[in-house]
Symmetry: C2
Subunit: 339 residues, 2 copies
C-alpha cells in the first residue's frame, strides 16, 4: 500500500510500504477514508524535534472503515465506520476509567495513519463507531474529531468552561478554532479569539467567537483586561505551546481562572511566582480525545457543529509532501489527505 514516511527535516515521502494486518487479538484494521497533517507533525518536519532514527511511517489522525478485527474485539465489527485518535488505549485501566485515555497504563502511540490502511491496537478502547456510514460531507468533520476538535475540546474541558463565562482563546490554528467551537457548545457567553489572520478570524466568528483581539503579548492582555472589568477572562485556552503564548494565556486569566494547555510545550517554563501571584492555574496535556468522541460524533451527525471547515486544502495522499509544505509555509491552516 501507499503511505507517508518521514525521513528528516523537510523530507516526507509517499512510498510503497507493507500493509499491516492483525497482530494482537485486540487489534482492528482500518481502511482510511481521510487523514491529515497535524501541527505537531510540523515540529518533526521542521527539524525542531529530533529526527527519527530511521525513516518512519507518519500521521496520527484518521477515520475510516473497519476491514478486520481480532478475536477479542467486541464493540467494533468489519464494515463499521470508525474514528480513533493519536493514542490507543485499553479502555479499562484506572486512567481510562477516569477519562484520561491518553495516560492509559497500556497506551500505544498510533502512527502511520497517513496511509491507505492502519492497524489500531486496543480497538474496543480506542475506536468509536458512527451511528451509520457518514455522507461525504461529514467526513472532514469526523476527521477533525480525531484530533483537533477533541484537542480543542479538551482545552475547554481542562479550563472548565461553563455557561456564562468569558473565554479567551490563544492560538488561531485548527486546535484554537476548534476550541472556539467547544467554548460555544459549553455555553460561554463571550469568546475572545486572539488572531491576526482575517480568514481565521472569519472562521472563528463562524464557530462562535464574539470578539477578536489582534494584539499580542502585553497589548493583547491589556485588551482582554479592558473587556473584562479589568480582571481577565474566566477561562483561557492555550492552543499553541510556546513560551510567549503561555505567558499571554496566564496573563489573560482572572484570579481563579484555569488555562487549558493542549499545545505541546516547547521550551516553556513557568515560575511558581507567576502562578501564585496571578491566581491563575494551568492544566492540560495530550487530549484524551476518546472521552469526547461519542459526544462529538453526535454533535456532528446532528449538524450542530461543522469543525471540518478547518480544512482549507484537500489533496490526494500522493501529494503528502505538498501538504506538509503548505502547512509549514502557512499557506494552509490544515490539509486533508484522501488516500
Amino acid at each position: 500500500m501507499r503511505g507517508a514516511v518521514l525521513y528528516g527535516k523537510d523530507d516526507v515521502r509517499l512510498e510503497e510500504i507493507p500493509e499491516p494486518g492483525i497482530v494482537e487479538s485486540t487489534d482492528a484494521i482500518v481502511r482510511i477514508a481521510a487523514t491529515c497533517v497535524c501541527g505537531s507533525d510540523l515540529w518533526h518536519y521542521r527539524g525542531i524535534n529530533p529526527p527519527p532514527k530511521k525513516p518512519s511511517p507518519f500521521g496520527h489522525e484518521y477515520c475510516g472503515v473497519v476491514e478486520a478485527v481480532g478475536a477479542d474485539v467486541t464493540t467494533i465489527k468489519p464494515g463499521d465506520f470508525v474514528i480513533g485518535s493519536f493514542f490507543a488505549s485499553d479502555g479499562t485501566c484506572p486512567n481510562c476509567r477516569n477519562g484520561f485515555q491518553t495516560f492509559c497504563l497500556h497506551m500505544e502511540p498510533l502512527v502511520g495513519c497517513q496511509a491507505e490502511v492502519v492497524r489500531v491496537p486496543w480497538a474496543d478502547g480506542t475506536l468509536v463507531a458512527t451511528p451509520e456510514i457518514p455522507s461525504a460531507e461529514l467526513i472532514p468533520s469526523l476527521l477533525a474529531a480525531s484530533d483537533v476538535l477533541g484537542t480543542g475540546w479538551f482545552a475547554a474541558d481542562s479550563a472548565q468552561v461553563a455557561p456564562g463565562m468569558t473565554v479567551a482563546v490563544v492560538g488561531d490554528g485548527a486546535v484554537g478554532l476548534c476550541g472556539v467551537i467547544a467554548a460555544a457548545q459549553l455555553g460561554a457567553d463571550r469568546i475572545i479569539a486572539m488572531s491576526r489572520h482575517s480568514a481565521r478570524q472569519q472562521l472563528a466568528r463562524e464557530f462562535g467567537a464574539t470578539d477578536i483581539v489582534e494584539e499580542r503579548g502585553d497589548d493583547g492582555v491589556a485588551r482582554i483586561k479592558d473587556m473584562t472589568d479589568g480582571i481577565g477572562a474566566d477561562a483561557v485556552l492555550e492552543c499553541v505551546g510556546t513560551e510567549q503564548s503561555m505567558r499571554q494565556a496566564i496573563a489573560s486569566g482572572r484570579p481563579g481562572a484555569l488555562v487549558g494547555i493542549v499545545g505541546v510545550p516547547h521550551d516553556v517554563a513557568i515560575t511558581g511566582t507567576t502562578l501564585f501571584r496571578s491566581g491563575v492555574g494551568v492544566r492540560g496535556g495530550p487530549a484524551p480525545v476518546r472521552r469526547f468522541l461519542p459526544h462529538l460524533i453526535e454533535l456532528i451527525f446532528d449538524g450542530k457543529i461543522n469543525p471540518g471547515k478547518v480544512f482549507d486544502l484537500t489533496l490526494p495522499l500522493d501529494d503528502v509532501a505538498d501538504a506538509y509544505a503548505a502547512m509549514d509555509q502557512r499557506r494552509a491552516t490544515k490539509v486533508l489527505l484522501q488516500p
Copy 2:
C-alpha cells in the same frame, strides 16, 4: 501600645509604638485577642526575603473585639468579635465578587497585627463577626481561621477536593495540617499526609488523615502511586512552596488532578513539559480566606473542627522574639501570642 517590629534577620523586637486610629471612613479598629507568627514571616526573619527598608510593624493574623468603626461601616459594630485575614478587601470589586478577595482591586496588605490594636481597612469587606463572643477555648481555632485554616482550605478548594477522592497533602506545617481538616470536611475518602515528624503525624491523623507517608521525593511519590492503583492521587495540596515540594506534589497527582498551591513559592520553576506530560494542573495563590470565613466560623462554633490544635506553644506578646526563634528552630509548629 506594645507591638512587634521587624528590624532584619533574626531581629524582631517588642516596642512601644503609636496606637492606630480610624483613618478612612471604611476602617475598623480592633483590639487583638490573639495573634501569631506565620510560616511566611519566617522568610523575612531568616533573611531569605529582603529585609525591610526601615524597622516595620509585623504580623497579619488576628482576631479580636471591635473598638471603633468609621462612618461608612455597616456590617461591623463596636463590641463585635471579629476575624480578618492578611489582606483587606473592599468586598465589592469583580475579584471580590468572584470570591478572590486577595486580588481585590483595592486590596491593602494588613500588617502590624502582632500588637495590642490594629487598624483594619475596608472593614465591611474584610472582617466577619462571630455569632456571639467566643469562649476562651475557641479563640485558638478562630485565630487559625484567620490564616492557616483558610489557607489550607484554599489549597483543597483550588485542588477541587470532592467526596470520595484520595488526597495527598505535601507539607506538615500548620497549613498542611489544616489542609487535612479541609480535605476531610470536603468529603475525601482517603487523605495521605506526607510527614516525618511524629507529633505532626499524630495531629494529622486526629484531623482526618487516613495514611502517613514518611518518604520524600521519588520514594514518597512511589509510595503514593502504590496506594492509588499506580496512577496517583485525585487531588494534591502543596503547602510548602519549595522546588522540591512542588515537584513532589505534581508527581503525586494522577492525570487530571489539580495541585492546590498555597505555600509562597521560592525559586520554583515548572516546565510546560512537566505539566503537559503529567496531565496534572497547578492552581492557587494567596488564599482568599475571607470567602471561607463564614463557613469556617460556623464549623468552629459547631465543634466540628478544632484547628486551634496547630498551636503547640502559647506565649505572651512580650515574648514575640522567642516565638519567632521557636518556629525558626522548629521547636514549635505554630506559636500563639497573647497581647
